[in-house]
């Protein structure tokens, strides 16, 4: 059995999870990455996507909508702007997130336009992935 690392997931309002995990799959801004014990210390921003943690209590999946992750050799702390367990992410919840991303893209300044459009595309992909699940 592989070693475990401490997995913390917090959003601005509360701590959502704090358990030992063998691996954590993170939707990083530059691509997905998996953190396991002994990972090089890394800080990465998140894109909207699914965060999956293989914990001692089973697999836990969360829909995250941005934030960042701090990875060290012994732990992962994910500071998500918005995070909900994947079971609670129904079509209506995802539609609300999508609508918000679209409204932000609509008012984005020209220099932020690409980033906002990418966020919308990420949310669309996220929505399809969750609903197909």
């Amino acid at each position: 059995m592989a070693g475990t690392l401490q997995f913390d997931l917090v959003n601005p309002e509360r701590r959502l999870a704090s358990v030992a995990a063998t691996e954590v799959q993170i939707p990083g801004a530059d691509g997905d990455l998996t953190a396991m014990e002994g990972h090089a210390p890394t800080i990465t921003t998140l894109r909207p996507g699914i965060l999956r943690a293989l914990t001692v209590e089973g697999v836990k999946s969360y829909v995250v909508t941005g934030g960042f992750a701090e990875i060290s050799a012994s732990g992962v702390s994910v500071l998500a702007e918005g995070a909900i367990p994947v079971e609670e992410a129904t079509g209506t919840v995802l539609d609300a997130i999508l609508a918000e991303a679209r409204s932000l893209a609509a008012i984005a300044l020209p220099q932020d336009k690409d980033a906002a459009d990418k966020a919308v595309a990420d949310v669309v992909a996220l929505r399809d992935a969750v609903l197909a699940h």
Partner: protein, 288 residues
Amino acid sequence: MPSLKDLKNRIQSVKNTRKITKAMQMVAAAKLRRAQEAAEAARPYAERMTSVMAGLAGSVGQSAGAPKLLAGTGADKVHLLVVMTSERGLCGGFNSTIVRLARAKANELLAQGKTVKILTVGKKGREQLRRDFGAYFIGHVDMGEVKRVGYSNAQAIARDVLARFDAGEFDVATLFYNRFQSVISQIPTAQQIIPAVFEGGAASSLYDYEPSEEAILADLLPRGVATQIFTALLENGASEQGARMSAMDNATRNAGEMITKYTTIYNRSRQAAITKELIEIISGAEAL
């Protein structure tokens, strides 16, 4: 000299007031516990956020291409004061202390020839500031409909502030709120949020950054503003309930003292009336 009937009425009315203040105190105590829990729960996020940003700011901050939110606009001309107060009164000196601090700061800035803009959150502070600084108001956030302060409230305020910053409306932004220390002590605090200030920014160069440090910092700074506003809102919420609780506790105690005082007066006048009647009867009998 009030009549016995008047005294009786007054005692009853003070008793009713005491019931109300007592109830308000207990409601505030319950709300305080919830507000404290919320502030407690939000702490891990804010702390991590600050430590990561402090580390990044330590390594990126000095370079020329540092984001404006960190390095400032280069000017120090226009100040935005975000004054956070409550929506409801009857909470002792809670609102006055914040307003006093904000007013002192505004006067100081004006004396230095700076331009002041004021954004108020919560209507009590707005009412108190309107007379002297009404001309400097640029906006108001109404929290009257908000039952529980959520991150989305803070985000909305942050978006407003950041949009104004991007439009070049101000150079420096300062938050005014009450930091919760205990039920009897709340500390009015002025906290500069733009440009961001960090204490003891130890450079954490041991991390790999993905994407670049600059990109992460640019992404985090606006979130940092929202987080700081959120923390301030929560601290303010807890402080408000704490202040209300002690104010209502005082009011309840005062009402109790008043009731004792009036009851003594009432009993004394009642006895005086009896004595007077007795004297009248006795002297009437002697006259026969």
